[in-house]
């Protein structure tokens, strides 16, 4: 009986503590931002997915360098760096007097600890991005040299992502719950299923951020997220995931709306490992059979950009490839006939996410017109989709937004779920990584063109960055191309 009454008491009290959501509008120093994907925990070294870096990178954790909204690598914890002529060693001069939120100093030794730790302790696939590092040498407390085993243009860029985050040796004991970084904010509390509260880190080296307290609130449902802003429950919708609802914000004087780009390519991926999609003619036919303008207009309200390959406009090697394998239903039918695939039935196994579910219905309708049958199977995301499509390659086609920066390199990985194997592309990617900047751009252009021509996948559209915010919030990033939602950019409007 005692246990029961204790339990009941716990219930009542906890009903009181669960999901403390912000009533931010009353606190002038606070801002509430709505997101859709909630971090499962705070440990992006062992838990995959975009939600954790979105909340923590640049805000709680910082790296030596960061990516700005135009795709440029900019100094962060490193004030400057030099690259040796053979482009094998990078010497960083570190920002002095930086401390972690637990008081430990940030030094060259910490850099060594953090980079080495990626190889030893990280569990996610991105850890392979540090494989190219051969050693890290602290030269003085504020100078560190990183030596690569081969020249790599990608490495410095990758240092702007989560794998470049700096950890304190005495701050990694409880990463899932207690993240400790050098950033402007510190995690104050979290309420699973609802929100995370960030407060300014008093030990932060840089200028104080515009907002003292930031509530990150999570809404699985895109309509609920919109409604929260419409009913003054939050201040910013970080990414409007229901594009047809944008006029609601645009026609309301309370809000500012921005529309930029992300680096999320929404891709209709083909399983190139097995018939019939190992046949380039079938892949081209399907690509030519889908009017991507119609798809973008209906599925995503015309918001977003058409891309002909795996390159967003912000990458230096972007060229317009939308003309390659352009919409041509007659040509598509001819290609199918040539390949002897007139009675094609394909399984379109998609994650149960809004953009995939809507796009899939257009894809099906379009492909039916060229005589290709499609059965749509929504799978629980992430778990089931990752297992059966991504890992076990049990699919013909899928639709997923590839959000990692510069993920065009995945076409060089023959084990990746596309099952795309082109020695030419692999060679070009390797050349690009090793070569000078000019060589890199030239080689990457050719990679993009080859992929488009091969119809290695069908690029449906580039996901737009749609932000709706109260007029009081300024500094909203136009483009969202890093892994982070950079809170340091936010300003109070008019200041």
């Amino acid at each position: 009986m005692k246990r029961l009454s204790l339990f009941l008491l716990a219930l009542l009290v906890s009903g009181c503590s669960a999901g403390v959501t912000a009533s931010a509008p009353r606190d002038p120093g606070a801002i509430t931002i709505g997101f859709s994907a909630e971090p499962a925990n705070f440990d992006f070294t062992r838990t995959d997915g975009t939600a954790i870096p979105q909340a923590l990178l640049y805000n709680v954790y910082e790296g030596l360098v960061k990516l700005d909204e135009n795709g440029q690598v900019k100094p962060l914890l490193a004030e400057s760096w030099t690259v040796s002529p053979d482009r094998l060693s990078y010497e960083f001069s570190l920002r002095p007097n930086v401390v972690f939120s637990n008081g430990s100093p940030f030094t060259a030794d910490t850099v060594k600890f953090s980079i080495d730790r990626v190889k030893t302790a990280w569990g996610i696939s991105q850890k392979s991005k540090m494989d190219v590092v051969s050693r890290v040498e602290p030269l003085s407390p504020t100078t560190v040299r990183v030596v690569l085993s081969r020249p790599s243009n990608n490495w410095l860029f990758d240092m702007t992502t989560r794998v470049g985050a700096m950890f304190s040796p005495d701050g990694v004991a409880d990463l899932p719950n207690d993240p400790i970084g050098t950033g402007p904010y510190d995690v104050a509390s979290r309420n699973r299923g609802a929100s995370i509260t960030l407060k300014t880190n008093p030990r932060y080296w840089g200028p104080k951020p515009a907002f003292e307290t930031v509530y990150l609130r999570y809404f699985k449902d895109s309509t609920a997220l919109n409604n929260a802003l419409l009913s003054n429950g939050i201040d910013v919708v970080s990414a409007v995931a229901a594009p047809d609802s944008m006029p609601q914000f645009e026609n309301d004087t309370r809000f500012n709306v921005t529309q930029g780009i992300t680096n999320g390519e929404v891709v209709l991926s083909f399983n190139g490992r097995k018939a019939p999609l190992n046949d380039v003619r079938v892949r081209r036919a399907i690509t030519q059979g889908i009017d991507r303008r119609v798809l973008l207009d209906t599925a995503w309200a015309g918001r977003g950009e058409l891309i002909g390959s795996m390159v967003p406009r912000t990458d230096p090697w972007y060229t317009d490839l939308t003309g390659v394998n352009a919409y041509n239903p007659e040509g598509a039918k001819k290609l199918l006939a040539e390949a002897g695939q007139q009675n094609l039935n394909l399984r379109l196994r998609i994650p149960n996410l809004p953009y995939a579910v809507t796009s899939a219905q257009v894809v099906k309708s379009e492909l039916n017109k060229i005589g290709v049958g499609v059965s749509i199977e929504p799978l629980d995301f992430p778990a089931v989709w990752l297992k059966s499509v991504f890992t076990e390659h049990d699919f013909d086609m899928s639709i997923i937004q590839h959000v990692e920066p510069r993920d065009i390199t995945t076409f060089g990985n023959t084990k990746y779920y596309w099952g795309y194997d082109s020695p030419k592309v692999r060679q070009l990617l390797a050349d690009a990584d090793r070569g000078s900047q000019e060589q890199q751009v030239a080689a990457m252009r050719e990679v993009a063109a080859t992929l488009a021509n091969d119809a290695a996948a069908c690029w449906l559209f580039l996901f737009p960055n749609l932000i709706a915010a109260k007029k009081k919030v300024g500094g909203l990033p136009l483009n969202q191309i890093s892994e982070a939602f950079d809170l340091t950019l936010l300003r109070r409007a008019g200041s």
């Binding site: 009181c16 929260a228 089931v384």
Partner: protein, 315 residues
């Protein structure tokens, strides 16, 4: 009567145990390797094996079951595969939220059903009574989530009187708590209120036909007074039964409503856990929901025994 209640209690305990085995068995066949999900797509086989061991999912199912069920007796639901945190405390947290929601929904339902049902019963031969009956028929036919969508659009988005969603615990800010509770409670309560109205009406009609009530009315009492003095206890027997069933319906209805209103209760926890294949958490939530329904049924049975004069005499 005591024997009756003890018998019911025994049935409850046995049912609960069988239910726990059923829940465990059903979810043991869930596809998707929790270790794989936690580690991402290109985890090494060694790391996978290590994590499986860490999760304890490399052992025989029977061992896993008994350890799970043994832990639950001490409030330990195991550690989540995704968050790696204990599930128990979070479950209690979320259950607390859902209970507020269900309680408020039930309150709304009763506030609608009791007056409307009694009124419709007393006037069941007149037009006004029929109007109430008709309205309740309509109310039963509207799904709770449709009511929710409409209410949000009107009161949150258009009028901006109430929040569109979210949850503020009562301790943090009682006013925010209440204003956030109104729309979800209405969405849950309106439909259930309509269902309940029909039961209240029919059981009150039954009571009105009883001889003692006719006698009371013949003595000059108004129908309402006669009911209040003599009939309510009898009319309450079937209503309590239905109320119990409704409570179970509300608990499950809350799953959908929590989704619409982004309330961090058991329902949204369940949907999240399912899409993350957080097997152990799903297991825990389903068990708690099923146990709650069984418990409600047990309490209803006991109340039924206590309230029903015929059964009381029989024992």
């Amino acid at each position: 009567m005591v024997v009756q209640i003890l018998r019911r209690a025994l049935i409850f305990v046995v049912s609960a145990l069988v239910a726990s085995a059923a829940v465990f068995g059903l979810l043991a066949v869930l596809p998707g390797d929790p270790a794989q999900v936690a580690l991402g797509v290109s985890a090494t086989p060694e790391l996978l094996a290590k994590t499986r061991q860490e999760f304890g999912i490399d052992r025989p199912l029977a061992t896993q079951y008994f350890e799970w069920i043994g832990g639950i007796f001490s409030g330990d639901f195991g550690n989540s595969y995704v968050t790696r945190e204990p599930i128990g405390p979070q479950l209690i947290d979320r259950l607390g939220v859902t209970m507020w929601l269900v309680g408020a929904g039930m309150l709304v339902a009763l506030l609608i059903a009791l007056p409307a049902g009694v009124f419709a019963a007393v006037r069941h031969r007149r037009a006004s009574g029929s109007v109430i009956s008709g309205l309740s028929q309509l109310g039963v036919a509207v799904p709770g989530f449709v009511a929710a969508i409409i209410l949000v659009q009107i009161f949150a988005v258009d009028l901006r009187w109430l929040p569109a969603g979210g949850w503020t615990p009562p301790i943090i800010d009682p006013l925010d708590f209440l204003s956030g509770l109104i729309l979800p409670a209405l969405s849950l309560g309106l439909v259930q209120g309509a269902v309940l109205t029909r039961y209240v009406r029919s059981s009150v009609i039954d009571v009105l036909r009883e001889d003692y009530l006719r006698t009371a009315r013949a003595k000059g009492l108004t129908p309402y007074r006669a009911l209040l003095r003599h009939g309510l206890r009898n009319a309450s027997v079937p209503v309590v039964t239905v109320l119990g069933l409704q409570l179970a319906t509300l608990l499950i209805g809350a799953v959908v409503i929590e989704r619409v209103f982004v309330i961090p209760g058991l329902g949204s926890m369940l949907l999240d856990a399912v899409s993350n294949r957080d097997l152990l958490t799903v297991q825990g939530i389903v068990l708690v929901l099923v146990l709650a329904v069984l418990l409600v049924n047990f309490v209803v049975d006991v109340l039924y025994t206590v309230l029903n004069p015929r059964l009381r005499q029989a024992s």
